[in-house]
């Protein structure tokens, strides 16, 4: 009697409970994040997209010349669109009209650390922040457009956050810093990823970038509190600026090392493939490889089957 009673209760509850549990766990998997999340929303205009429908349909690089929304000059725009733009990257000089408003923005937001002349020294000549002179507009654009500058916490590595300035303001600050040392450092690139060679970008990324940023672009911890950031929100301009200027702990890759064409291919691979990975196999599990897979396999795989055991078998 005792037994019959218990079994009928189990009969009523166990089967639906197991079904609901299994469905819920699958739902968890399906709706879990497909790719590593970075810490803010995209900062500039739409990146290049590659179709990554499940089933791996051939992807196409779409033409979206939006690396910089304010095209600095008609000549730059012409050079960008000209068929002679084989490498896909035009390093542009920012218009002189940007310098004056940039100086005002710099004085209000940056000079407290970097100094009015961006030397990084306070009035006594003591260095309190990096000297920005000679780094060029592209370097400044990278740090400001990714929201890393202005810094909120000087003790830790600057992280990507919502930028404080809009696109024009960012370029104005960059133009001002560039005007202090004309011709030096990294210029702001206009990147045209249309026509890029994704296969070459893939190979170059694996050889030069994956050792820090990981093969999925998710980023990882480096030594001494440093981090290789996730690339999932980087814009084409930012990718090229980072390659050329080597922000933070990143090595610098000059044109003798990675040519403009190669930089363009890497950019197309990062913004096209890594940011829109082909997760034909289901949820991407964070793109961190076997660590995530192990947890899913043990907790959901073995775990659900143990629940089934629990249903099938006796519990006392």
């Amino acid at each position: 009697m005792q037994r019959t009673l218990r079994n009928s209760v189990t009969a009523r509850l166990a089967a639906p409970a197991a079904l609901v549990g299994a469905v819920a766990l699958f739902g968890l998997v399906v709706f879990s994040s497909g790719q590593a999340r970075a810490d803010t929303a995209p900062t500039t205009t739409a990146p290049v997209t590659v179709s990554t429908l499940p089933g791996a349909q051939p992807g196409t690089v779409q033409e979206t010349p939006t690396a910089i929304s304010a095209v600095p000059s008609p000549t730059a725009a012409a050079a960008y669109n000209s068929p002679s733009n084989r490498s896909g990257i035009i390093y542009t000089d920012l218009p002189a009209s940007f310098i004056a408003p940039g100086q005002a923005l710099f004085a209000a937001n940056c000079s407290s650390c970097h100094g009015a002349l961006a030397t990084g020294s306070d009035v006594n000549g003591k260095a309190i922040a990096p000297n920005l002179q000679g780094l060029g507009a592209g370097t400044v654009d990278f740090w400001v457009s990714t929201g890393r500058m202005p810094l909120t916490d000087t003790s830790a590595q600057a992280i990507r956050k919502t930028p404080r300035f809009n696109r024009i303001q960012t370029l104005e600050i960059a133009a001002y810093v560039q005007s202090l040392t004309p011709g030096q450092g990294t210029k702001v690139p206009l990147v045209k990823t249309a026509g890029a060679d994704l296969e070459a970008g893939n190979t170059l990324f694996t050889l030069n970038c994956a050792a820090c940023h990981t093969i999925s672009g998710a980023g990882d911890a480096l030594m001494e509190g440093a981090y290789a950031p996730s690339l999932h929100l980087a814009t084409p301009t930012q990718v090229v600026e980072a390659i050329r200027s080597g922000p933070g702990n990143m090595p610098r890759f000059g044109a003798g090392n990675i040519t403009d064409t190669e930089a363009r291919d890497i950019t197309a691979y990062v913004t096209g493939v890594l940011q829109h990975p082909n997760d034909a196999g289901g949820a991407g599990l964070g793109g961190i490889g076997p660590v995530g897979e192990g947890f899913v396999g043990l907790l959901i795989g073995v775990g659900v089957l143990m629940l089934v055991c629990f249903w099938i078998g006796d519990r006392a």
Partner: protein
């Protein structure tokens, strides 16, 4: 023994449907049967849907969902059938000791020691010869079976490929051109300060033991004093602010591809050994026991970067024959 537990003679009685001990476990078998049937029907629909998903080349998620629903329905239905609708008992089965009777044991042991021992005593010579012969046969199979598998690691190679010296030495030699994996020749102006590049001796692009990581630490011209590397004697291995280290980690041979530019450390992505580039790649932390071997490099008159000799030691992880 109670009255309803009579001692039976002969074989076990056949089970009958009205036997009170063979009734299903659930109180309401009709409803449970309906539920199990429903589950199996759901499973059937799942399998049909899987065939449909295959037919229309639906994506992997559809294939998995339909197949999983099919398996789930069929499985749940069958389990419910077994758990709620079949005789539950509990039944009991007697268990017996495994060991044989003493007599059986004795006769078994006697067969081995007695009958066998007799033969050993009588024909000891044959037995010894058989053992030696078997041993030689094993060797005869093992020697070609193992030796053919690969070359022998030696310090110098013979010509017919049965030895391999690549554990001890590399293809770098004095004058070898530094090229990228794609074969591009590396010039002295190619790297900016803080730049890194993986290079190979020309003609051996992509070869594992030959991989070298080239780093530019300073913008120095041909007439500047060389960039100082801390252990004495290694400074002249670099040239014009360049240094070159074997890219094979001395821990487990992973490519040490992670260069932290600001702290000037090479890090192995596999097990996080840290090498200080400024001091001849001496390990600062982690499991790597030895510095990365340094490759002497030079620049010729055309600006082409060349090796100035081979490594002064074996590259990569440690092994027994490593001096």
């Amino acid at each position: 023994m109670s009255d309803n537990n009579p001692r039976l003679e002969g074989p076990l009685p056949a089970a009958t449907l009205d036997d009170p001990h063979l009734q299903p476990a659930t109180k309401n078998p009709e409803r449970m049967e309906a539920m199990a049937a429903a589950a199996i029907v759901v499973g059937m629909l799942g399998f049909v849907a899987f065939i449909w998903a295959y037919w229309v080349d639906a994506n992997t998620q559809w294939q998995a969902a339909t197949l999983a629903v099919g398996m789930l329905g069929l499985g749940a239905g069958t389990i419910a059938w077994g758990k709620y609708l079949m005789p539950q008992g509990p039944f009991v089965e007697e268990r017996h000791d495994f060991h044989s009777s003493d007599t059986e044991r004795e006769s078994f042991n006697a067969a081995i020691t007695g009958r066998g021992g007799l033969e050993v005593k009588r024909r000891g010579l044959l037995l010894g010869l058989f053992a030696v012969g078997g041993g030689i046969m094993t060797l005869a199979f093992l020697i070609p079976g193992v030796r053919s598998l690969g070359p022998k690691p030696t310090k110098s190679e013979d010509t017919h490929g049965s030895t391999d010296s690549s554990l001890f030495t590399t293809n770098w030699k004095k004058g070898a051109k530094l090229v990228t994996v794609g074969g591009r020749e590396v010039k002295v102006d190619d790297l900016e300060v803080g730049g890194v590049l993986t290079v190979f001796p020309q003609g051996h692009e992509g070869s594992s033991p030959d991989q070298v990581i080239l780093i530019r630490l300073a913008q120095l011209g041909p007439d500047d004093p060389p960039y100082p590397i801390a252990p004495p004697g290694k400074t002249e291995y670099g040239v014009q602010g360049y240094v070159a280290y074997s890219k094979l980690c001395t821990h487990l041979g992973c490519p040490v591809g992670l260069y932290q530019e600001r702290t000037q450390q090479l890090v192995c992505p596999c097990h996080q050994s840290i090498f200080d580039v400024n001091s001849g790649a001496i390990p600062q932390f982690g499991p790597a026991p030895r510095p990365l071997p340094m490759l002497p490099i030079t620049v010729d008159a055309t600006g082409q970067m060349r090796a100035n000799g081979n490594f002064d030691q074996a590259v990569g992880p440690g092994f027994w024959e490593r001096p």
